[in-house]
């Protein structure tokens, strides 16, 4: 899946609902390169440990997109 399609998809609340489930906290969700360097993937950073409920891939427009989930995120502040 190309980057622009993914960038558009992550603006939709539905993607956030499916990815985050019951998680409530600061996070960052962006588009990055896929681990196998084939196409684009999602990068999700969340606070604390990564709950097992968060999926490692998600269907976008019928295509499975890898999700790299990283814990230990801190809410950013203006600098």
């Amino acid at each position: 899946m190309n980057e622009s399609t993914l960038a558009e998809a992550i603006q939709k609340p539905e993607i956030h609902r499916r990815l985050l489930g019951k998680y409530r906290g600061a996070y960052a969700l962006g588009v990055t390169s896929a681990p196998d360097d084939e196409g684009a993937a999602l990068l999700l950073r969340i606070e604390g440990a990564v709950p097992k409920e968060i999926p490692k891939q998600i269907a976008v427009d019928g295509e499975q997109v890898p999700v790299k989930v990283v814990g230990g995120f801190k809410a950013p502040k203006t600098l």
């Binding site: 960052a28 969700l29 588009v31 606070e47 600098l79």
Partner: protein, 355 residues
Amino acid sequence: MDVISKPQKPKATSKDQLAEAIGHVQDAAGQLFEQDARVHAVGVGIATDGTPVYRAVRNKKKIVAQSATLTLKAANAIVKAPFPIVFVDAQNDAAPLYRMPFSGAAALGASAQPEQQLKRPLRCGLQIQNFDDDSRQRVFASGHIIVGSIGCFVQKDGQGPFILSNNHVVAGENRGKANDRILQSGNISFDTTQFVAKLGQFVKIKFSPTDASVADGTVVFNDVDAGIARVAAGIDSKNAYLSGRTGVKPPTKLGVAKHDDAVSKVGRTTGLTRGTVTSIATIVGPVTYDKKPAWFRNSIEIEGVSGTSFSDHGDSGSAIVNSNGELVALLYAGNGTQTYACPIDAVIVALGITI
């Protein structure tokens, strides 16, 4: 404040101990930030017996999952640091703007970064202050001023030059008034020799309710944190860095950031730093502003190379340039590990400017 001393007595001299503590502070901070979501600052302090300690400042009122907190005992057991950890309790997160003492060891010009000094002609990366906003906010009473960085110089409607930086730098998070005076490098009393620009225009930051969520559709997104200030008559400026900043191309043309790009910035606090774009089109929040949260979309996420910090408080407004010298984004926030910047094409459109 609680202190637990580690059993072994350090053998090195105090000077060596301090050097060792400073050498490991980044590792300790990284582990503390990861293990306790309430920690927002880690530094080296000195205990009453003269030995170094790691001072971890945490917001005790911050509500986080129990799994994202540490007891002091656990902190000292888990975090591999050569000296004890001390928790310092705060009632809030760190100040959203860079509020710094005007005199003393931590004052203006005490750092080695040349961008903090008064410099003419104006250059990218120099320290600036909205003097009138600081005055209205009465920050001088506590001996502080609020500063940020010049991103670059732009034109608007064929006029200019204008300083491009963040709203929260030149316009005090929507508080700015037309023609507010901008000083370089900054002062606690108005100094005509430091007056360089007047506030022109800024894009208002839209804040979201504290319980807003993207999933619920209740977040109000921002695309940029940006503002411009018209350079005063008789003040020279140039889209270039100070002469000592070699190995980085000045922001004279525009580009688009891609993930894995190598990027650089020059700011008043950390000077010249290098990083990698780790994600694009990023939705991030809540970003802590002055007591209010804000959410951003289409941001660019950057991490410093080899675990270094790409930015710190006071670097807001810095221009992010890629290895071709293309200006790709404007730095506005960070958390010590990740830095967030708004894409320059959105800034250009929002302010109606050209470079």
